[in-house]
Amino acid sequence: MGADTDIIKKYFKKSLAGTKGPVIGWMCTYAPVELMHAAGFMPRRIYGIEDFKKADGYLPINFCPYLKSSLAQLLKEKDILACAAFANSCDGSRRLFDMSREYLARMPAYIIDVPRSVSVASVDFYKKSIKKFFYFLKDTKGGKAGEEDILVSIDLFNRIRKSLGDLKILSVQGRLSFIDYCKVVRCSAVSDPVLFIEELNRLLEALSSNDSRQKDGARLMLVGNFINEDRLFKILSELDINIVDDDLCTTKRYYDNKVVLEKEDVFYSLAKSYLGKPACMRMSDMGAKVRTIKEAASAKDISAIIFASLKFCDNTLYFYPLLKEELDIPILNIELEYNNFSEGQVKTRIEAFLEMIW
């Protein structure tokens, strides 16, 4: 949301403009973009649009704002999108898929069944699930895409994800702001991946020669769900703090995932790595999620956590009491609603929190 800063305009013009192939809108980090790309689609993540009043007539007031703004986007862009891919991530996303089927019936859409646990059986189930998704994509698009194409796409997205990881390191070193890092990650999910990787690598090169300007303030971790709020990112960038780690649907949980080819089975490999990536709070083992956050916090010498959650997300709302109880470092909870964001208030709360901990 909000205007793109120079970095996007300067580096990613081409990839953002590139629309090679029909566009598939996708949501949720458990939807394998590799398969969409291999089937000949141009994957574009659905981030939602700022003005989502239109969705009010379809979904209740106490509903995930991300999903509401995504519905508004789908209604607006129905003629641009050749197809849409959803995942069975939460109750809300199930309903969003229903909406697309009911009110955008002409747009082909698919919902991928994603298990909630990680085990031999669940990987096998997920493998079959994404295989069906691939057949759907092939049916919709036509053409002869096969496993060779998937391998090419896996390699491409592995490179993109690796470079986004490098970008994070540079951001922690203070070579680019937190907000710019978030914007580049967002850009990676809405632009032509082939062009994007070239542009990203160019940016990485330029940034590596920048001076490291690590701030003196507290080392913090940002944990949350679908946080795509530039106003929050801006506040965090302007304060004297370092966001050393960010466990969000929109950042690490999306790109921290390397697909390793195993058993010479592309679907198995994708299933295994997607279920093994940093878990979403939708997964059933909340204790494991808490442990990974605690381990990251201790390994990265993090002194506090900012917990940013979109309102009305049950998975996140239940996670917070557990995390708060289990943590031995301070945590600040910020609930966000897209149309109800008070910059002043949020900034004051964060500042007060920092004063307390630092």
Partner: protein, 422 residues
């Protein structure tokens, strides 16, 4: 007199809100002579059996002499009974907290423990009760994501609270209904049962499971007959409340008690058929989702305005006959057959058919605050029913928290809706 006894019980529990008192009350109330005496205080046979068996079931859970397992509402309880586990259903108990007038305390407790007020109050109230140590300590905690995300999360927190993460089982019900889903799900059910049995030092009792499934099939048989009978009723049977049978319908599936309740219910309802319709035909409504479990006037208002609930969606028997020789497969099919699984298409189809089968003039949709899966589907269901010629009224409210209830507002909306029905 009857009312006085019940009010006194409520007041006593409210004033002595601790597990020891509840336990003591249940240990006395669940004894046969007192239970029989208590039984005379209920007006209808179905209500009597419902209350007696519920008290017995709760008494058993609080007594804790057999392993208690918490379960979320839509699990196949045949598994619990087949394995000799005593089920305890926090969501149902949350309904009781509303009925007993203690939800204010449980919700307050949940708030103080950082449970957001935006969460469903069934889980919030149950969480508050767990925090207040009002529920018996379980040995196992089993949950499913059918029908909502909230259950699996809330139950994990219970597991954490009781230090039972290793005895926490999540039955992951897939979105799609196909062979892959059946295998994945039946495999999970089998693993869970095997693990529980090994923790209890027992062999997996396949025969016990088969017996539970036999009972479940008998319950299903009488349940279908009950539902068939209700199609023939011209008015709502006195002292019957179809929205109250959640515990027997779910938690007792696989027991003889459920068979008895539904068989007796059938006999009772049959006795109301055959009468002639009164001169003025009552308007027939389908009730969607749950109801408020605290004292409210909705049903009186409906009756006063010449309406009857022809059927409640929650009583729809959605699963096929089960195979006692294939318990895991059958129960996976039962889970996957639920209309709240996956796409809204499943539920829409069921509701459209119910409206037709029960000659409905309209549908009432209780929109419980915090229930994403339900409220997110209102628009589609309304549109579908409208296309089928069935007007729908969505009532915003809360099933557990009475603070969201306003009689005046409700009455105006109901009247306007009923007028629309003609």
């Amino acid at each position: 007199m009857v009312k006085n006894i019940k009010e006194k019980i409520k007041k006593d529990i409210k004033n002595n809100l601790n597990q020891k008192y509840i336990k003591r009350f249940l240990s006395i109330a669940a004894k046969r002579p007192l239970l029989m005496l208590l039984g005379t205080t209920f007006k209808s046979q179905s209500d009597r059996l419902l209350n007696l068996y519920s008290i017995q079931a709760m008494g058993k859970a609080y007594k804790n002499s057999s392993p208690v397992a918490y379960g979320s509402l839509f699990l196949p309880y045949e598994l619990f009974h087949g394995l000799g586990l005593v089920p305890f259903l926090p969501e149902v108990l949350a309904g009781f907290t509303a009925g007993m007038g203690i939800a204010e305390q449980t919700l307050k407790e949940a708030n103080s423990k950082w449970y957001s007020p935006d969460l469903c109050t069934f889980h919030r109230s149950a969480s508050g009760a767990v925090e207040l140590d009002l529920f018996p300590k379980p040995r196992f905690i089993i949950v499913t994501n059918l029908a909502c995300d909230a259950a699996q999360k809330a139950f994990y927190l219970y597991a954490k609270k009781f230090g039972l993460e290793k005895n926490f089982y999540h039955v992951d019900v897939p979105y799609h209904y196909d062979q892959d889903s059946i295998s994945y799900l039946s495999g999970q059910l089998k693993n869970i049962c095997t693990d529980i049995c090994s923790k209890l030092g027992r062999d997996l009792d396949i025969e016990g499971l088969g017996r539970a499934i036999d009972y479940s099939n008998q319950f299903r048989h009488w349940g279908l007959k009950v539902n068939q009978t209700r199609k023939k009723l011209y008015s709502y049977p006195p002292d019957y409340n179809g929205l109250n049978f959640i515990l027997p319908f779910h938690g007792m599936a696989g027991t003889k008690d459920a068979v008895t309740i539904y068989r007796e219910m059938y006999r009772e309802l049959e006795s109301y058929t055959g009468g002639r319709a009164s001169s003025k035909r009552q308007k027939r409504l389908i009730w969607l989702h749950l109801k408020p479990y605290y004292k409210n006037e909705i049903f009186e208002l409906l009756k006063k305005d010449g309406c009857m609930i022809a059927f409640e969606e929650i009583n729809h028997i959605y699963w096929p006959k089960l195979d006692p020789d294939n318990p895991f497969y059958s129960l996976a099919v039962k889970l996957l057959s639920h209309y709240l699984r996956g796409s809204i298409e499943n539920r829409a189809r069921v509701i459209e058919n119910l409206a037709k089968d029960y000659s409905a003039d309209g549908a009432l949709f209780f929109s419980h605050w915090g229930c994403r899966q339900n409220n997110g589907s209102i628009r589609i269901l309304k549109d579908r029913l409208k296309a089928a010629g069935i007007p729908t009224l969505a009532i915003d409210g809360d099933c557990v928290d009475k603070n969201n209830y306003s009689k005046g507002q409700l009455s105006t909306r109901l009247q306007a809706f009923i007028e629309l029905l003609g």
